[in-house]
């Protein structure tokens, strides 16, 4: 580990100088609470310096608490030392939300991974934030329930990360994103105080602080426990694969399926390059010659599901579908999904690195924005692969590249910015599910006015007036009223 932290190119974050004496004093206090679970070795600082984005900068210290009381103690110690803290789940976030800024103390939740209680009478489960998304649904399966948000990263991402990013997944089209599935949250506020937001009762009194915390990317405190809602497993499921030899027919079919009054549980699209990459890896029988495929899933009671299959078939035929493949059994269904869920990793087959984008556009503009994405990638000499949640217009262009090429990082970022701009010009938004973090912080002004951002910052400041919790994320600095976010970021971190 170099004695100076890495430079975060392009985010105005310069070289942060270390203060060895301050770090040592902080570590000593943290060790009194956590013993060997407070660490400052180079290996772990390196490990926690990055998330799934392309940014990185090491923290001062990594803490691995086991209880909410320990988390509260860590926050209080950080405050005493004037040091920011940063909650971290599995580090799969793609917007730099878990990238340390200002040499913070990282509070990793991986040892807080207990499913505390499954309460079927109230249809909630109380879980700690480090529980992995798929582990939770697996644990609920015997009782006939699951946790509906299913990010493609669900094998590894944490419930705490899902909450902080208000994550989505293929099946959120019908079931809604994370916020619809969180009844209550126990959180350690940036003051060090612990409180419960929301509740299991029908209408928790007062303002919806729970709703505000979900999606706040760790800038309003650390979630230490959550009551997540249980969704009953559907009695019937049908999965269809449709292929088109024209992307615009595929996109038009997406809108037509929705306009026909169906809300499929998932409606995913892959373009030609994605189909090829995925097929080479999953051998799911994806039609490699097609320009686009749609993966459509319908679930619910059998009558509606079968009627839905007929509607999808009819719509697809009108849009000149090549083949309509209906998975015959669970095995075939799993195979079709295996391709989709592993698509991002499979990109490594064409280039060693990739940058995964996330914007949303109105469904009716999908074709047009996709065409722009290809043109932008061409212009920056990058390869674009598209695998995305078409049903809710949520684009996920993957820019594949080789980091060893000089200057490629800048090209990747410039292309990303152009993709965001093209999406917003088409009436879309900055992010559908990955969040703002660092990556899109400085793009907020493309969508919101200065006054909109100022108002958002007022709300954030209510939770963290002194700027301790995951500073300098989400809101660009110019909008800060009192610049509280800045206070505990060491000299030189901001240039």
């Amino acid at each position: 580990m170099p004695s100076r932290s890495a430079v975060l190119v392009g985010y105005g974050l310069g070289v942060v100088s270390e203060d060895a004496a301050a770090d040592a004093a902080l570590l000593a206090d943290l060790r009194r609470v956590l013993g060997s679970r407070a660490r400052d070795n180079d290996f772990e600082r390196g490990l926690y310096s990055r998330d799934g984005s392309i940014e990185g900068s090491p923290p001062a210290i990594v803490c691995l608490p086991e209880t909410a009381a320990e988390v509260a103690e860590i926050v209080r110690i950080c405050r005493r030392h004037g040091r920011p803290f940063l909650a971290r789940g599995s580090g799969t976030g793609l917007a730099g939300g878990a990238v340390p800024v200002g040499r913070p103390v990282v509070v990793a939740t991986s040892k807080m991974d207990r499913i505390v209680e499954v309460d079927t009478a109230n249809r909630v489960a109380w879980v700690e934030p480090g529980v992995l998304n798929l582990d939770l649904s697996r644990a609920l399966a015997p009782q006939g329930f699951h946790f509906a948000p299913d990010p493609s990263s669900q094998q590894v991402c944490s419930i705490g990360g899902n909450i902080a990013n208000n994550s989505g997944g293929p099946h959120c089209l019908a079931y809604g994103v994370t916020t619809a599935h969180i009844a209550a949250l126990e959180v350690v506020l940036p003051s060090g105080e612990t409180t419960t937001l929301g509740g299991v009762e029908a209408e928790p009194a007062g303002l919806d602080l729970r709703g505000l915390f979900v999606g706040s990317e760790g800038t309003m405190g650390i979630a230490t426990k959550a009551a997540v809602r249980l969704t009953p497993n559907a009695p019937a499921v049908r999965t269809l694969l449709l292929d088109f030899d024209d992307v615009s027919e595929g996109s038009a079919a997406v809108s037509a399926i929705i306009a026909a009054g169906l809300v499929p549980s998932a409606l995913e699209m892959m373009d030609q390059r994605a189909i090829e990459i995925v097929e080479a890896f999953a051998h799911a029988g994806y039609p490699t010659g097609a320009a686009a495929v749609l993966l459509v899933e319908l679930d619910g009671l059998p009558g509606g599901v079968e009627a839905g299959v007929d509607i999808v078939r009819e719509v697809a035929l009108k849009h000149h579908v090549g083949h309509v493949r209906v998975a015959a059994d669970d095995e075939e269904r799993a195979l079709l999904w295996k391709g989709r869920k592993n698509a991002f990793g499979a990109v490594a087959r064409i280039k060693p690195d990739y940058y995964l984008h996330d914007t949303v556009v109105p469904r009716s503009r999908l074709t047009e924005v996709l065409e722009k994405v290809y043109r932008i990638a061409d212009a920056y000499d990058l390869i674009a692969v598209n695998v995305f949640h078409a049903g809710d217009g949520n684009l996920h262009p993957i820019l594949a590249f080789d980091r060893r090429q000089p200057g490629v990082d800048e090209r990747v970022k410039a292309a990303g910015r152009d993709i965001v701009a093209a999406s917003i010009e088409a009436g879309g938004v900055l992010s559908g599910e990955h969040g703002i973090g660092l990556e899109k912080r400085d793009y907020m002004g493309m969508l919101f006015s200065a006054h909109d951002m100022y108002t958002q910052d007022l709300v954030r400041e209510t939770f963290d007036p002194d700027g301790f919790a995951n500073p300098l994320k989400v809101i660009p600095t110019g909008s800060r009223c009192s610049d509280s976010f800045h206070q505990h970021v060491p000299e030189g971190a901001w240039v």
Binding site: L197, V200, E201, A205, L207, L301, S449, M453, T455
Partner: protein
Amino acid sequence: MSDQVTASLASRIAPEVAEFAGVVGESGPVAVVGARTHWHVGGAADAGAREVQAPCGIWEHEPSEMTVRCGAGTTVAELGTHLARTGQMVPLDPVDAAATVGGVLACGFSGHRRLRYGYVRDLVLQTRHVDATGKVVTAGGPTVKNVSGYDLPRLLVGSLGTLGLLAEVILRTLPVPPAAQWLVGDGDPFAAFDLLYRPSSILWNGSHAWILLEGDPVDVAAEAAKLVPAGFDPCDGPPPIPGTGRESMRPSDLRVLAGTGGEWLAEVGIGLVHRHEPVPAAPVSSANAALMDQLKQRLDPDHRLNPGRRAW
């Protein structure tokens, strides 16, 4: 990069919204009036406050996007009629359809089909409100999925107009289910809930339960057939829902109501009890009350928005 994309949401503010902001102005206490169907929720409004009304009108509805943009002063009845033409709905379900969209959202109370369609907050995609400085603030976004910035729309829903006055909202629409059937009977409503896959509503008054099934006609018939041996028969619908008091419990705690007197109607699976008599607001923890007070202090330091009302 082109300059047009700068603050794209702010650049699309409807003239009606800008005009409303002008009426609210920069100073003096204001009370925003909907249809006055529940004017006294959260306590009486200060008599001295100037009354203003949010704009009304359905400004954009793209059935294939499943979104609708309307003025917050639009009545729920008008919105429903408009959407029904294309087989869609927003299941706000207020007790009185004369209520306005803004009024329903300001109160933050979900309708009787929450069991299937979820909390009213989850139907709101974007809000534009007029803040205490008389400026328009946009939050959320126009698309069905969005995590751009902090979730102010969820904060505004249920805030009784004390943090901002809703001017325009974009709501998520849903297809009207092809079939719907109410059943009534004296069977165990909790057992019925476990028996069914995602019923739309189970209302229970201690002796009888009314169950709403919605969806494909084949499924509705099959689910209804499951209920017949459990003591339920088709009917036209439930009795009127008492509209004065709302008591909030954990869903499992509703069982304690069995055998208690009085007239009430409870939402099984949700935990809500509708009563004819007023129910005092549940207390908020001191830590949460402090946060809520701070929010109010920052967003409306002079307490000019809906003075007299208390959302907590």
